[in-house]
């Protein structure tokens, strides 16, 4: 069953004032007249404002509104797609005919007939995400002023030589209609803030940096406006001294190491090694030439041990304030929540309507998404989260279990191979653990592992009190390249014997 939530807001009136139904009528009727067995129309608006400051001064503030219409058709079992910036019924009809033309032109090269899994029809449905302050109701100069004030707090501290600050705010509006009869209007916002402080040692020709841990979130301007969503006062006060300590900290000794990984770091490891690995389109080769495939192939479903028995991972398009949270996906499938890994066993995939049918599932789990009107919907990642343990262990409880190890906080560098085996991550802060307690910071740390080895080395997960939602705005996939925003929640977790690298030694120094 679907489970989705509607916020208290409505869709903005300027989007509703567009001739949405006329566009749908024109596009869908033209597609059917042209020979399509199925068609959908999507009007997609993305409003973005990115504000960037350097050393407290405005570097760039650009407000961008992108809008257009997209028509997708199936003709004789082959996809066709066309989009246009114009929002007139005649352009919608013409785009439908172009989409049909694409399908007809390429049908001879298509060996796999497209079929869609069934989904209930949703007529005149509306969904709006839950946010308190519309970020586009805040003037640009107020955003600049707030970031300047936050930057100033960091720049006023000893040892901070430079500060970069940015916020990216997005409002996404869609209208979807298909030949089954669904018509759905949606609106959601997201906000991504970040400040980074840099300490320079000019004599040595070296430098060190540290970034804030505040995650991107499916909320509005309340994310930055005060300390209710994120405690900016505490973080900005602590960051300079943490950076100063990091610049003086010893370089790590490479080798197998016990790690307690904070949610601010672990979310990205989940994203790369579980999120992408459980995409069905990857697993069957649709991304083989670009984003890659996956070791988690269909023959391993319900049998492969992905990780230790404390590993439980859910996919969820209904998570509160999740970046991939939505009412209905880009194919009109209602948002859902399901398991990907249960008790350490691989049990689920991410699907759209085509791949659900191909996998023999009765219904898609709603993972279709396109990042603009000019891109074809593809299977994209829902919010993928590691569940907390039932024992409600704290992060301190996990640290107490470690005799000699590292507590890793904050994400930084990430890389993983094209079948999601071999990964390497760094972080923002690395605290040495000695005899169950933190003992200063370390530098030059990266951890490197094979996905299933890593998750099988997970001895314990923290409880619900340690669970945090992280995420990214810029998950990339497909050709032409598309980006998607996605959240990952997780507790702190303890891993045994993970290979830690010294990045200075890796560079031969």
């Amino acid at each position: 069953m679907s489970s989705h939530r509607t916020g208290s807001r409505g869709v903005d009136s300027d989007f509703l004032a567009l001739p949405l139904n006329q566009l749908a009528d024109a596009a869908l009727s033209a597609a059917i007249a042209g020979g399509a067995s199925y068609a959908d129309l999507r009007v997609h608006a993305i409003t973005t404002e990115i504000v960037q400051l350097r050393d407290g001064e405005l570097e760039s503030a650009v407000l961008d509104r992108e809008i257009g219409l997209a028509v997708r058709v199936i003709v004789d079992g082959t996809w066709g797609f066309a989009s246009h910036a114009g929002l007139r019924p005649d352009i919608a009809a013409e785009s439908a005919r172009h989409a049909v033309g694409v399908a007809v032109t390429l049908a001879a090269l298509n060996a796999e007939r497209i079929e869609l899994a069934d989904e209930p029809v949703y007529r005149d449905a509306t969904w709006v995400s839950d946010y308190r302050i519309d970020p586009f109701a805040i003037p640009t100069d107020e955003k600049v002023a707030l970031l300047a004030e936050y930057s100033g707090r960091l720049l006023a501290s000893d040892g901070v030589d430079h500060v970069s600050a940015m916020v990216n705010t997005v409002k996404e509006q869609t209208f979807y209609a298909d030949t089954f009869g669904s018509s759905i209007t949606q609106q959601r916002v997201r906000t991504m803030p970040a400040l980074e402080a840099v300490a320079v040692d000019a004599a040595a020709g070296s430098f060190e940096s540290m970034r804030t841990l505040a995650p991107p979130t499916g909320r509005g301007w309340e994310t930055l406006a005060d300390d209710t969503v994120w405690d900016w006062s505490v973080e900005l006060a602590e960051l300079p001294s943490l950076l100063a300590e990091k610049t003086k900290s010893p370089s790590v000794i490479a080798g197998p190491t016990d790690l307690v990984i904070d949610p601010t770091n672990l979310w990205l490891t989940i994203h790369e090694s579980i999120g992408h690995a459980t995409e069905y389109d990857r697993a069957i080769g649709y991304e083989a030439a670009y984003a890659g495939t996956s070791f988690a192939t269909p023959d391993k479903l319900n049998t492969m041990r992905y990780g230790s028995p404390v590993m439980n991972v859910t996919a969820d398009r209904t998570a509160e304030f999740g970046l991939a949270t939505i009412g209905y996906d880009a194919e009109g499938v209602a948002a859902q929540r399901w398991d990907l890994v249960r008790d350490g066993i691989f049990v689920g995939y991410q699907l759209d309507r085509v791949f659900a049918k191909r996998l023999g599932q009765a219904r898609s789990n709603g993972c279709s998404y396109a990042d603009s009107a000019h891109h074809v919907p593809i299977q994209r990642m829902p919010n993928v989260s590691l569940q907390p343990g039932s024992d409600d262990l704290s992060t301190e409880d996990l640290i107490r279990r470690v005799t000699d190890g590292i507590y890793i906080v904050g994400d930084k560098s990430w890389s993983i191979d094209m079948q999601r085996y071999n990964f390497q991550f760094t972080g923002q802060r690395f605290f040495r653990i000695r005899d169950g307690s933190l003992d200063g910071q370390l530098r030059d740390v990266a951890y490197q592992a094979t996905t299933t080895d890593f998750w099988n080395s997970m001895e314990a997960v923290g409880g619900a009190s340690t669970w945090r939602l992280g995420g990214a705005f810029n998950c990339g996939k497909a050709q032409p390249g598309q980006v998607a925003a996605v959240s990952h929640g997780c507790p702190s977790a303890l891993f045994r014997g993970v290979n830690v690298l010294n990045t200075r030694e890796e560079s031969g120094r």
């Binding site: 570097e59 650009v62 989009s83 004599a203 940096s209 649709y286």
Partner: protein, 457 residues
């Protein structure tokens, strides 16, 4: 849609009528795009799109200070132009002082092609590619890939008289072929899809898959390695993106020198390599002027319309230039330098076949993947080999080898390279979404650092 030139006229007229700003810049980009994608010898997601982006940059000057407001929209209704100009003006009046303030350039009128219709593209561009691919689809190997064509025409106009126009064709074809557990890749950059050698690409893939009849497992370690042009391009493009002058001057990049200042003047290699960008490079032509909505350490909105010339970032093995917008250049008393949207490196004379023949034992790479910064102080990058690592023994390719994760810095690769092959046009695999125009040599690295083995095939 009304013509792009008419949008510019409407916007500048609206700005003049409103009279609320001292200067206005308008940038209109018309973009047509077509794509083919295939997997397992069958087409998957294909389509065409038509779009426009209109950017209005309003400037208010108060004494020596300038205040910038930027609004961008893809809305194509004529009625939307006036409100976009008004919104930019509102933003400029409310904005704090811009740190990259510089006088706008002045122009000498419209170029000869200013009023010409903008060209487009469609699936018809792929007719020959599709025909040749269909033969490949009937073969025994499984083919995956992507053909992409974008034609984007950008017009820049300022209230001070600048008028610049450029049509940028960007095209590429990538094919990944699989046979059993072996995987190979090839790709070409092709601005107008007039000369895509699909048959030769399929033959090359078949040769590479044939190399994988014998496989050898190697552990992590340092190996003599031949980096073909695509892999060199991916590492050098990242270096190019890291050559911002301000960051280097302020001591916070790998191009910062111990004791202060930058590494300009530092000799990296005796191989005599020159790395440069040049908008007039034959076959790699790109916009010869700055067009940007957003300021950054690399570009300034105040520089819109400014000429982009050839810049030697590394000359004869020595770091020679960093990226500086005009205002930043003035601050650090250096010459402005804007990067063109291509990257070239000179090389030697040896072909890849000759370099293989001269190798007693080493690795031959195909492409690199998932490159990210590990340590910005040294520009240490991590990434993976992909779709073909081959063992060279006694001057011949004798087997396919497992994939590796590497940790290497492009600066250090140049410092350690012992041979450069002939430079040739190549398609960067990792950065192909952003950078398709590159000419690079093969490099011989005596001790390429493979940090660990990747099981990926």
């Amino acid at each position: 849609m009304i013509p792009a030139q008419q949008v510019i006229d409407l916007a500048l007229q609206a700005a003049a009528t409103f009279g609320r700003c001292d200067e206005t810049i308008v940038i209109v980009s018309d973009r047509a795009e077509a794509s083919l994608r295939w997997a397992g010898n069958s087409m998957t997601t294909n389509g065409v799109s038509t779009g426009r982006t209109t950017t209005v940059i309003a400037i208010v000057r108060r004494g020596d200070a300038a205040h910038l407001g930027v609004r961008r929209s893809s809305v194509v209704d004529t009625d939307a132009v006036g409100p976009l100009v008004a919104a930019a003006a509102d933003a400029a009046h409310a904005a704090p002082e811009a740190r990259d303030n510089a006088p706008l350039l002045t122009g000498s009128g419209e170029p000869a092609d200013w009023g010409d219709p903008v060209p487009g593209t469609g699936v018809g561009a792929f007719a020959e590619v599709a025909r040749a691919l269909s033969a490949g689809f009937r073969g025994n190997d499984r083919l995956y890939g992507f053909a992409h064509h974008v034609v984007e025409t950008t017009l820049v106009a300022t209230s001070t008289g600048v008028r610049r126009r450029f049509t940028q064709p960007t095209g590429s074809v990538e094919i990944n072929a699989k046979r059993g557990t072996a995987s190979a890749w090839t790709g070409v950059s092709t601005p107008w899809f007039t000369d895509v050698p699909i048959d030769a690409m399929l033959e090359d893939l078949s040769t590479r898959l044939g190399w994988a009849r014998r496989t050898v497992e190697l552990p992590a370690g340092r190996f003599e390695t031949l980096m073909p042009p695509s892999t060199v391009a991916d590492m050098m493009i990242y270096l190019g993106w890291s050559m911002d002058g301000r960051g280097a001057q302020e001591g916070r990049t790998a191009l910062s020198a111990p004791g202060g200042g930058t590494r300009v003047g530092e000799k990296l290699t005796d191989l005599g390599l020159t790395m440069y960008s040049d908008p007039l490079a034959p076959g790699l032509e790109c916009a010869p002027f700055v067009h940007t909505a957003a300021g950054s350490e690399r570009l300034s909105a105040f520089d819109n319309g400014m000429d982009i010339d050839r810049v030697d970032w590394i000359r004869d093995g020595t770091i020679s230039s960093l990226v500086y917008p005009r205002a930043t250049a003035a601050e650090f008393d250096v010459t402005p330098a804007a990067p063109a949207d291509n990257l070239l490196m000179t090389g030697g004379t040896a072909s890849l076949a000759e370099m293989v023949a001269a190798t007693e034992r080493g690795l031959l790479l195909t492409t690199l993947w998932y490159i990210r910064t590990v340590d910005p102080t040294t520009l240490l990058l991590t990434g993976l080999t992909r779709d073909g690592v081959y063992l060279i023994e006694d001057g011949e390719v004798t087997a396919a080898v497992n994939n590796f994760r590497f940790n290497e810095s492009p600066l250090d690769l140049l410092r350690r390279a012992t041979e450069a092959g002939v430079a040739e046009t190549t398609l960067p695999r990792e950065w192909g979404d952003w950078a398709t125009r590159a000419v690079m040599p093969t490099l011989r690295i005596p001790d390429f650092h493979m940090s660990s083995v990747s099981q990926a095939q």
